[in-house]
Symmetry: C2
């Protein structure tokens, strides 16, 4: 997402060329980096749990994180897969409203909530920038509601594949799928069996190839686009 040169030497050392500070100017960035700490999580590790005291805000520097909510009986809805540049924990003060877990090896930048709040007041443009980030998230959330409420299994899986493809700059149809079928199912409101079957059907129809379960190759991009958009009755 961000491509400008990082101001933070620590970050630069770890992930060359990857900026933090949400695209703000030099001064703001310098202020922000003064109160960050950088650390890592292994795949499967929990960053924080829904209901925990939200004393920090996190920025993903590298890797992929899933966020989810649970029903009392264990049913899970994954509300997002977040990669580098995304913020975690911006929600209402007090407590986190979702659980966050690492899917891949993840590098995180942690901001203390209190210091972060102070920055919002003191650094011109910072709140505005955060507002843009939140609006963007809201837009994504509404698209996902349309998917969950009104798309068929095939349309959901097609949309997911295109989301993954778009998240990777890789335009050549090679898509990495770092999460399990269970994650995909809980993101799309399906079961793992339906996800697996739908992928098999797309493969059989020549729309995709599946060299390995975690590696999808898009063979017929246009057809996938149409499926994802829900254009025709043929989609069913």
């Amino acid at each position: 997402m961000q491509t400008e040169v990082a101001l933070n030497a620590i970050v630069d050392a770890v992930v060359p060329g990857r900026s933090i500070g949400l695209g703000l100017g030099r001064r703001a960035n310098a202020q922000i980096t003064a109160l960050t700490s950088l650390y890592s999580k292994a795949p499967g590790e929990t960053l924080f749990v829904e209901g925990d005291e939200a004393d920090s805000i996190y920025e993903i520097v590298r890797g992929m994180v899933r966020i989810h909510k649970l029903l009392p009986d264990g049913r899970r809805q994954i509300t997002g897969f977040l990669s580098a540049g995304h913020l975690l924990g911006l929600a209402p003060e007090g407590a986190f409203v979702y659980t966050a877990e690492a899917i891949t090896e993840v590098t995180l930048c942690r901001y203390k909530r209190a210091a972060f709040d102070r920055l919002i007041d003191e650094v011109p443009g910072f709140a505005k920038r955060l507002l843009a980030v939140a609006s963007e998230e809201l837009y994504r959330a509404q698209d996902q509601m349309l998917l969950l409420g009104r798309k068929s299994a095939t349309e959901k899986v097609a949309s997911f594949l295109l989301l993954m493809a778009g998240q990777q700059d890789d335009e050549e149809g090679e898509v990495e799928v770092p999460m399990t079928r269970s994650d995909i199912a809980d993101y799309l409101g399906l079961t793992i069996e339906t996800v697996s079957r739908t992928l098999s059907k797309l493969k059989q129809d020549g729309v995709i190839a599946l060299p390995t379960p975690a590696h999808v190759e898009i063979l017929a991009r246009e057809q996938l686009d149409e499926l994802a958009a829900g254009e025709t009755v043929a989609a069913c």
Copy 2:
């Protein structure tokens, strides 16, 4: 939502006691009211359409609005029912990302986008306040994803009734439902028949009463709470 005394004489005249300006201080409010215009929409009228140029931001002063997104073949997902105090059109600049329509008679306050943007820069605390509003919306959206992806029809309808009840201060179990079964269905990712049947079943079970289709009486609040939360297998 807002109960403080309005500073804007026009608003006061129309809707006594209802504030605008998003809970900011006197100075900010004075600045904001300088660039507002107030007007009304009849039930069924469109405020704006997905894709329209987003040159304004709206605050609902009175009444209820629905916002939705469409698939090319007409399938509709209602992403929210918004009442007084809510903002419309905050999403990414350029174009509206959803369509907004009046459900009841609605009074709106319109802010010019450019002026609104200037306020964000000039009025201290304004962007922060908007960020809180957007975060709150995001939280609601994630709850709705959980509902759409993982709840049964009964759980969805129960959740909806509680949402409506919560939106009205009326704690006595009397809930007004100003929208049609079609709106409810498109909000919950169901069909009108399933919504109707589910309401009938809840009535039959003594959980609610239905004096008229648009008027629900909650008879067994606890049972409805449990259903909405998805506590037990009995929910199915």
